[in-house]
Amino acid sequence: MDNKIFKLKKALELLKQKGLDGLVIFSSGAFYFLRPNQLNYFSEWRPLGPRNAAVVSKSGKVALLIEPPWDLNRASQKSWIKDTRGTRNFSKDLTSILREFDISGSVGVAGTGEMTLDVYQAIGEAARVVPADDILEEVAREKTQREVEIARKTGRIADAGFNAFLEYARPGIREYELVGEMEFAMRSAGATDNFTLISSGRHNYSMHPASDKRLAPGDIVIGEISPVFEGQVVQICRTVVLGEPDPLLAEKYEMLVHALKEAIKQIRPHVPASSMSIAMNKVISDAGYAKYCYPPYMRARGHGFSLGSISPGATIDDETKPDFEKDQVVVVHPNQYLPETGYLACGESVLVTESGTERLSETKTILYSKGV
């Protein structure tokens, strides 16, 4: 079935099930990788203004309201939604569409997490607001082949980012310059955006956006490399030592790689997501670091990444209830603070398959070193 018809048909089924007159899918233009970007997923268009929404009626009418109005042409070209309308008065025009579409009883609203009071009140004047983020998450659970291919391509872009990381990480370069080169490599490979965190030093505490610190011989450089392509994020976590790695560091990193492998072994459809975290924490705990597996040192052991859903969740830990499902994209990262080595980055994104997992990147997760 055509992607757009599938999305609309399934959304309408869910509206009917929930007894809703319609659905408003709102976006503030922000793109948060730990929250489903529902309007982007549904409309297949990434908004740039602070207030945008798709309105769906239970009878199947769909309109896309766009701010600023000069972005209308791009929306018309990118989105499958034919009824596109620019606005200079978002709240007023949104309520007009609700009336035009006879949405006056209960309206599901997706995206309230990024909606401000004025818009919420405007919708509330037209109909009874029912939070409905779950509708699009439910629609997005079933992946199309195109979405799976997008995830695979994003994995290859992440490799391009890591190759640049390895090439440019050297004494003297500043963290922000290194990130600039990584980002250029990923954009050149097709990325539309990047989420890159980094840290460098003899003993790191966490990863962060780049500072102007210069890399020095002996530094452990850690990076979380997460390109975005067509709205899909894939993440890999890598550690590079500038110089010969200390044997203790090599030993500890090997332990994390073992934890990663044991965690990935657990992933297959119909298995609780917590099993991945439990397997990872067992390896690290058995090595004597049980207390470092939990807050305040560590929290998530991974999370989902997807276009319209981050299922099985923004945090996968020992308590995560949902099961893994086929075609989910999941990052598995035993990124770990250890008292002897500091914070180390180690992680892979995988696609959940019928029988287990498919790695989305090709570069190996090992402790890399560069001669200086």
Binding site: R46, L48, W70, T112, T116, D118, Y120, R187, S206
Partner: protein, 382 residues
């Protein structure tokens, strides 16, 4: 100008204490505390959020939100301020390197943390001033906050931050100059580099790289091809840039928290972006600037510039407006329109832009960042 927001503000994140010393922030906090006392408030909550609207909280804390999250500065009527950022305890060490506020706290649930703090300090009930909260806090968080402080009298104090931020201090003017110079260097790069066999995305990647190597925090680029049938500024796409194309490039960036933007029209020839002679259009833009000065209102300036354009037979394109204030946000007050009664003052920074139809290029567009001085506008993007 509205642009695609990145997933993370991931460029160089530092606090240069010479460029922006702690005393500057303390002085801002003291001025607000004076307002708190004058308005007979007990406490003020100053909120900023996301990648465009972090200005309010950053103005007081120097902290910039790097994801679509919030940050809150709590100012009592006297004494030290408190800063709560949305994030985990693991981020605290890094955050502390970029803020002067000693009492800095992480919170995954920002409104709950704020309510808890106010209750601990005996400030529920009290008279609470708020800035940026109604406008920018997501409604679910807003409701939690308002329910939590329900016995309090809540007074809107948005105007206080707005007015303070509109007029830049000498230190802020220097930051605006630094950011603006990088914009100018960006355009120098565009007009000096070869872009053979390339497409829009690759051009964007090259400009982005140059700007990041200059140490910027955030880069926003839009492209317009005014010979296209229904052209508009838009993010780069997988489209070629071909010989003879007219190309408008919008470039905005933030450097050490402060934004600057510029717009240029180019002709693409022999793999280079050439700066064409825009003829009378450029002259009208320059002439229009003479109407900008302390004491005049924003609407007077707007009407003057468009009046000049009209007299000269120019057909302005007003979809993108004529500009607005700029500073800690890419889009600040005042908006330059025909109604604004705001009086222009020395120290205000503006983005001014003008677009017009053109037989030769389809359309032409220009824009720069200006500082208003006693003697008129000083172009910073040079």
């Amino acid at each position: 100008m509205e642009t695609i927001q990145p997933i993370l503000k991931r460029g160089r994140d530092v606090w240069d204490r010479i460029n922006m010393p702690e005393a500057e922030f303390r002085e801002r906090a003291q001025r607000i505390q004076e307002k708190i006392r004058k308005e007979n408030l007990d406490v003020m909550l100053v909120y900023g959020a996301g990648l465009n609207e972090y200005g309010n909280s950053c103005y007081l804390s120097n902290f910039v939100t790097k994801m679509p999250q919030g940050a809150l500065v709590i100012l009592p009527k006297e004494g030290e301020v408190t800063f709560i950022f949305q994030g985990g305890s693991r981020e605290l060490k890094t955050v502390q390197t970029t803020t002067w506020i000693e009492d800095t706290r992480p919170a995954m649930d920002l409104p709950q943390a704020c309510v808890k703090f106010l209750k601990e300090k005996g400030l529920v009930p009290s008279r609470v001033g708020i800035a940026g909260i109604r406008e920018w806090m997501p409604v679910r968080e807003y409701q939690v906050l308002m329910d939590g402080i329900a016995p309090c009298e809540v007074i809107d104090m948005d105007h206080v931050l707005r007015e303070m931020r509109m007029v830049k201090s000498p230190k802020e003017c220097d930051q605006m100059r630094r950011a603006s110079r990088i914009v100018a260097r960006g355009f120098d790069f565009i007009s000096g580099a070869a872009f053979p066999d390339t497409n829009e995305r690759m051009i964007e990647a090259m400009i982005d790289r140059e700007m990041r190597l200059e140490g910027v925090e955030d880069v926003r680029i839009l492209i317009g091809k005014p010979r296209e049938k229904q052209w508009a500024l838009r993010p780069a796409d997988d489209l070629p840039v071909s010989e003879g194309d007219s190309v408008i490039i919008y470039l905005a960036l933030s450097f050490e928290r402060y934004w600057a933007e510029g717009i240029r029209t180019f002709s693409f020839k022999d793999s280079f972006f050439e700066k064409p002679d825009l003829g009378t259009f450029a002259g009208i833009f320059e002439k229009g600037l003479s109407g900008m000065g302390p004491g005049r209102t924003v609407s007077q300036f707007y009407k003057g510039l468009l009046g000049d354009a009209d007299k000269s037979g120019l057909e302005p394109i007003l979809d993108y407006g004529l500009g607005h204030g700029i500073g800690l946000g890419p889009n600040e007050f005042p908006v330059i329109d025909d109604k604004s009664p705001i009086e222009m003052k020395e120290g205000m920074c503006f983005v001014l832009r003008l677009a017009a139809k053109s037989k030769k290029f389809g359309a032409v567009m220009t824009g720069d960042t200006f500082l208003l001085t006693q003697n008129g506008p000083e172009k910073l993007t040079v």
